[in-house]
Symmetry: D2
Subunit: 139 residues, 4 copies
């Protein structure tokens, strides 16, 4: 599991002082980007090889909103990897409380591996290898 701490900005929250429901998808992006960087193979390297991982599906379950400047943690894992697609799972928890770990938002994103023409391509072995470290099926 990859852990990323961040604090929502004024530009992230809405009038109820909780993060706007669409902005969690940016936190998810940041979570998976940093997970990939940690494997030693940042997303940018994939792009340099003419491949992309566009999101094909996204799901979010909102339990409690993250507030302005609250210390939150994006926990990212790899749920599964197939030949030309994969899924990341996310859990955002609040770390502002000393007892910690209050679950705020959970969700997932599925991705296809495509080339610059949008054609589906097998995931390169070096990507699969890196991501396998974070594989946690059944999360």
């Amino acid at each position: 599991m990859h852990r990323l701490e961040l604090r929502p900005l004024f530009g992230d929250v809405d009038v109820m002082n909780i993060v706007y429901y669409g902005n969690y998808l940016k936190f998810f992006e940041q979570g998976r980007a940093e997970l990939m960087r940690e494997t030693g193979r940042p997303y940018a390297e994939l792009a340099d090889n003419g491949l992309h991982l566009p999101v094909t599906e996204a799901y979010l379950r909102y339990r409690k909103g993250a507030r302005y400047d609250e210390l939150i943690e994006v926990q990212t894992t790899v749920a599964w990897i197939k030949k030309a697609s994969l899924r990341f799972d996310y859990k955002i928890v609040s770390n502002s409380n000393p007892s910690g770990g209050i679950e705020l938002v959970t969700g997932y994103t599925t991705h296809a591996c495509v080339d610059l023409d949008g054609k589906v391509k097998p995931l390169p072995a070096w990507v699969v290898e890196g991501l396998r470290q974070h594989l946690e099926p059944g999360t």
Copy 2:
């Protein structure tokens, strides 16, 4: 069904010239806001009555990306209405093609009805009445 036409801005698209995956949730918000306005009961009226409809779940299926300045249409319907919750369904299609109607993104959002303290409250009768006009179960 409520139809809303719009054109993605530079601020909406990413480097692949398609709308960033999180920004469709803003188009969904705009779709349901204009649907509610059309019923004669804009969301702001609900807020004036101390009630809110926070999103409890969101799902998106990305088939094809909407491009910069492309004329797209957000089609919004009400999937179901319960005592204190409801679900909107969305379909975003491209209208840039004369043959029209190329499906880009579909999805839904579920909402709870809560008061300012976050307590679940029954949906007011006048809200239910207005939304029933757009009820299309099985969409």
Copy 3:
């Protein structure tokens, strides 16, 4: 002068129920995009010719915040056009009040004309012609 009416979304406002200070730049973009479309020469046509108008400077003066769902108007004019650069001026007013015309935010953006390699290029005559209709120096 080009006039564009719009309503801020929840995704645009912050915790004080006024539009986040960075999001007015999206309204400015929408203002100048629709002004160009009205001239019969949308920005996309420029891009199709391998030219871009990146922003080189932006200025905003915030007098009063635009609120959620408030009917606002983006008034866009062309302040000046030079050989390879131009400036748009913007005034955002509230139309929610029957007496109308409460000034909320004013500002400007300057743009250079560049090709795909980022080299400065003269503005095409057909762009200059279209924009001249909206020229209002001294605004």
Copy 4:
């Protein structure tokens, strides 16, 4: 001077693979928020005291765009502090190059100190004290 390192996300850049011109204002917000946190007096403490520092003016000069995933640094200083207003100056540089320090975007924001009714109020002494550490007039 306060230094903050960050990396633009896909959600920050536009089709030309540079950060959308409005999104730098979020980086500016993050810069001044972290500067204030470093003084031991985070912005949230001000808000807890019923005070806010809304932006009254913002200016940006775009020299070179920040690219996706590029390591950039937001350098924030305090330009001046008056009785009930202040100004932050910003410089965003690229740290991706070993020679470093390529200037991308510069700008400033001015702020008024107001209470919850929007009335101008003197800046509390403890805020002034903290910010004075980062005062660099003539930047």
